[in-house]
Symmetry: C2
Subunit: 216 residues, 2 copies
Amino acid sequence: MKPTAGTTSITTPAGPRGAGRPRSFDHDAVLDAAVEVFWGNGFRGTTTRDLEAALGLAPSSIYNAFGSKRDLLTAALDRYERQITDSLLGPLETSNEGLAALDAFFCSVGTWIAAHRRQGCLLINTMAEDGGTTDRITRRASQYRLRLRRAFHGALIRSAAAGETNDDHLEARADLLLSALLGLNIAARGGATPAELGRLTTGVRTQVEGWRVTET
Amino acid sequence: MKPTAGTTSITTPAGPRGAGRPRSFDHDAVLDAAVEVFWGNGFRGTTTRDLEAALGLAPSSIYNAFGSKRDLLTAALDRYERQITDSLLGPLETSNEGLAALDAFFCSVGTWIAAHRRQGCLLINTMAEDGGTTDRITRRASQYRLRLRRAFHGALIRSAAAGETNDDHLEARADLLLSALLGLNIAARGGATPAELGRLTTGVRTQVEGWRVTET
DNA sequence: GCTATTTTGTAGCATTTGCTCCAATATTGG
DNA sequence: CCAATATTGGAGCAAATGCTACAAAATAGC
């Protein structure tokens, strides 16, 4: 308890004298597994037993490393967003192109959706599942939507600046693209066939191309 | 058990001799309550206790009248689709207009979404939540998407026939509208503010108007 | 009134679920 | 080696969940 101050040894105020047993798992690998489970089953559809099995960890380890089930979801969302952002959204955000960047983005989205069939996007799924009941998730979803919209808008502004498209309704177009992207994910989650998903992505890309200004 | 055929009374093979206790509730009113609960909480987020409270019925009555919890969802979806269809989709499907009908539809959707804030569309929510795991729900969701797409496509065909728009990419445009509509609902469910939802619907309507052919 | 038939109310069952308690284990500074 | 610290395994708890069993209640035909 108290330092029981010996007359001389006032130094070293009972500082930690050991580092404890080391963790037996890789933090990020475990988070990847959590992403996979939440992604497939949704938050409510994932039980702690599912997590224990998928993560290969005992409950005490899970709750010790991360907090609650919801905390684990938050951590998984963090990791997921970082990855999805790097592979899909990043190129659009850093591109110098206009319509071409948008087209490339939705093209990538198409193949990505096909690769993760019937899963959609974890962030958007969570957004839909949560129903705005958890402030934390709601805020995160709103930020994500804002980020998507900003990326679309940026590309459209670049496009207009390059004379590729006329500069009317750029905001409205960005909003339309955002709706369409969310819809794509929901359709994927809702059991749309690859053919249907292909048509849906084509629909978006066709419109993007339709915004290109033709010589008059 | 067996009719224990008396020598003469071969007639009336033990037919029902009473009609039993009558139900104490209105079938459709109860379904409306079920719609409300599933709509607000989602399927997994709704417990049988929630249903008992909202429906004002004892569990045995619920399970006697409808089958399982999932059967009740199916019945609720039936009723919901009939209602939503009458008020929103019906006018679009039966209209003779082209772009105007589309604009009116998305305008109605906008006010409807605002009225049911943070709820989105029950069918689309279920589509997203289920994740394609239940064949029955998946089929229903697919049919609903098909129906929406057909309505959009029909309006675009009418529009092209009237010379209101050029007849290119009508399929792609219908697909785009479908994606956008699904996205609108998810955004609503995901905690988008009324302002953001207004912008999103405006984005769709602006594009619809953009399809109008201008005099050259 | 009586019987057959159906619904209702209540208690509760078997399972699942999120999470915790705690002894055993592994590690590091001294 | 020892004390201090941190993690692990695993049993298991309290609550929730979907659903059922069963007796009481209400109706229609006889």
